[in-house]
Symmetry: C2
């Protein structure tokens, strides 16, 4: 499907609401006859997974790379976003000659279950009621997100993914792919992630959810039906979260205590400091492109994530007998998912004699480093993927043009 031309005349919020039910990307509809059993033990069907692909699937269907997105990401990893009109969120990583080289690999990027860009989530119309799901949508897990992607891979006729790769919550999906569907994953690249969500991280998410739910325009989650939008609450949630994505050093270097277009302090509650103005901008642009209930559901899924707990409290059990080759990547200044949590993943993999390499990248950019210009990250991903692809006998790509 292509973007219908009338969208050009809509504001970004209206386009977003439209995209939730009529994605301009590709999608598959899983029929009522093939329900998904969720971790909460409820059955979900029918449901839709919206996705984008980049590059071409080879004849052997052996060159597919599944890119899993983070909390507020979506399928537009390497193409223009239909709501914001901005470039894809991982264009630095995906494309011809890029580290995930679309001359060599076929990239699939699905919008997660619970998301708001076309995959079934709280902003989608519930076929049973004809109204948006809202809080009737089941609380999902990272494992559910992954299980909901399996029918997409089946639909594309792919037996084994060459790679599953992603950062942050994307990295959690990578781990669940390897744990739940190991034989279908040749290589796995979890970046800037952890096998469980810490108490502090749950706390930050809870602040964000309380901010959304405190907004009277949230209307107990029924805002889409009632024609309101919890913009203020969602903006505050985004602001709080955004701080955790950056390192203190990055904030200090970027903004310090610099004043915004001002010679001196205003002695008011205006955004005197650049960092205030930056945060307010982050909040207000986010609400244009994201659904508040999706934010609640996806943060909850992350909070619930604890791969060891799913395997008798022994993380290594999640990977017992794995044949997948892993490349675990962390950043030194990431305080959301500190390097030590990547080390725990590596130790668990070592404990089951998995094939694993670990790359700790020196960076002062904080958690968001995985989305930024980080030559060491690019080199690590490029090198790992190409070596594994050579080993698997895939045709070489463009050679890094």
């Amino acid at each position: 499907m292509n973007t219908a031309s009338p969208r050009e005349f809509l504001n970004s919020t209206d386009v977003r609401v439209l995209e939730a039910n009529s994605p301009s990307s590709d999608y598959i509809d899983v029929p009522a006859s093939r329900p998904l059993r969720l971790d909460c033990d409820r059955l979900l069907a029918p449901f839709r997974i919206a996705y984008k692909t980049y590059g071409a699937l080879n004849a052997a269907k052996s060159n597919a790379v599944l890119v899993a997105h983070a909390l507020t990401g979506d399928q537009y990893a390497a193409s223009q976003h239909p709501v914001t009109q901005k470039p894809g969120w991982w264009e630095t990583m995906i494309g011809p000659g890029k580290p995930i080289d679309t001359d060599r690999f076929f990239v699939i990027c699905p919008n997660v279950l619970g998301g708001c860009m076309g995959s079934t989530g709280p902003a989608s119309i519930n076929a049973l009621t004809g109204k948006p799901w809202g809080l009737d949508f089941p609380v999902i897990t990272i494992g559910d997100m992954v299980d909901a992607q399996v029918p997409l891979i089946d639909h594309l006729g792919i037996d084994q993914l060459f790679c599953v790769v992603g950062g942050s919550m994307g990295g959690m999906q990578v781990l669940e792919w390897a744990a739940r569907h190991g034989p279908r994953v040749y290589t796995a690249v979890p970046i800037a992630t952890a096998a469980w969500h810490s108490s502090q991280n749950i706390a930050f998410h809870e602040v964000g959810r309380q901010a959304v739910m405190a907004d009277p325009d949230w209307r107990q989650g029924r805002y889409l039906e009632l024609g309101t939008e919890p913009r203020n609450g969602l903006a505050v949630a985004r602001m709080a979260a955004h701080i955790t994505y950056l390192s203190e050093e990055a904030l200090q270097r970027k903004f310090g205590r610099s004043l915004q277009d001002l010679a001196a302090k205003t002695f008011s509650f205006n955004a005197d400091f650049q960092v205030e103005s930056y945060l307010r901008h982050q909040g207000s642009t986010f609400v244009d492109r994201f659904d508040a209930n999706s934010y609640l559901y996806i943060t909850r899924a992350i909070d619930y994530f604890d791969l060891a707990a799913e395997h008798g409290d022994v993380l290594a059990n999640a990977f017992k007998g794995t044949k997948t080759r892993f490349c675990v990547v962390s950043f030194t200044s990431d305080w959301l998912y500190p390097t030590r949590e990547s080390r725990e993943i590596v130790q668990a993999l070592n404990a089951v004699a998995a094939n694993v390499s670990f790359v700790e990248i020196e960076s002062d950019k904080g958690h968001d480093a995985f989305l930024l210009e980080e030559p060491e990250l690019f080199a690590a991903v490029r090198g790992f993927l190409n070596a594994a692809a050579d080993k698997r006998g895939l045709n070489s790509g463009s050679g890094g043009r």
Copy 2:
């Protein structure tokens, strides 16, 4: 003044509103004839400073210790709080035989200008209008808070304070006392603080302010007049701030991923995790005892704090020629005011050959360690104060009974 008995029949919010204008503690009223010139260049008068004292002032008036409180503290450092009925916030530190020994020292604890427990602030009635100040109250600074305490010291007939001590924003007041009124400060003990507020810390405060101001019950700051209360917004602000007061280790040790009274996850947005329930409790109890506009003003004062900027961008200039003896205290796991920021203070003091000792305390409790049971902190403060008091020839106290 004593607590009037009718207060027993009021709820905590009503008591709080009453305390803002009729404090149950002592207070001084600075008359209209002695206006305070604020850093914003506005004049403030009349104004009130509410305070509590503990212990007895000696005949020479040489044993006074001014305790400066933190963001949400008040004058009830070592006595029951009239709103919450809880013990004082620094009872571990202040009292007979305690590190700040009231058998030896006369402790004065003022509520800061801009506060809401009796000192003039946005919740006070503006004499000119007969209505609460609200956002007509001038935006104040840490320096203004300190300058507003000078008339209190004058009123008590104290020429030189034996010590000014405080943690967090209290420590900033300590630094301003030493910088602006050095000859009146014999010793200074800034704890868990910094000479400037970092970009990340401004960002967290801005999230809190946006949460308050996004609450429709804030009513552009006129909620007291209009009979509403931005409870939800202020609770969210407190929750976000509270995370920064604890270390990740402390949160993990205290709560980990433990579930709250539950055998298993509820797959809902209830407070499944103990840390969620704890944070919600922190938010809701805070709004019972604190004024939302005071929160805006005091966070703003902290954001504006930059002692070097006030002295030609050279921190050492703030202390040039100082005769005050300093004891700078930091905690290893404090990420709000990391140890390196205390070191900057020490280096500036060293640069002007000040008498300074520096105590970095190994603790995993985070910023809040200064309020908690920390034997090393107690020993450091006790030792420093008693040695200085001996040197100054003060009668000894109870001997640490």
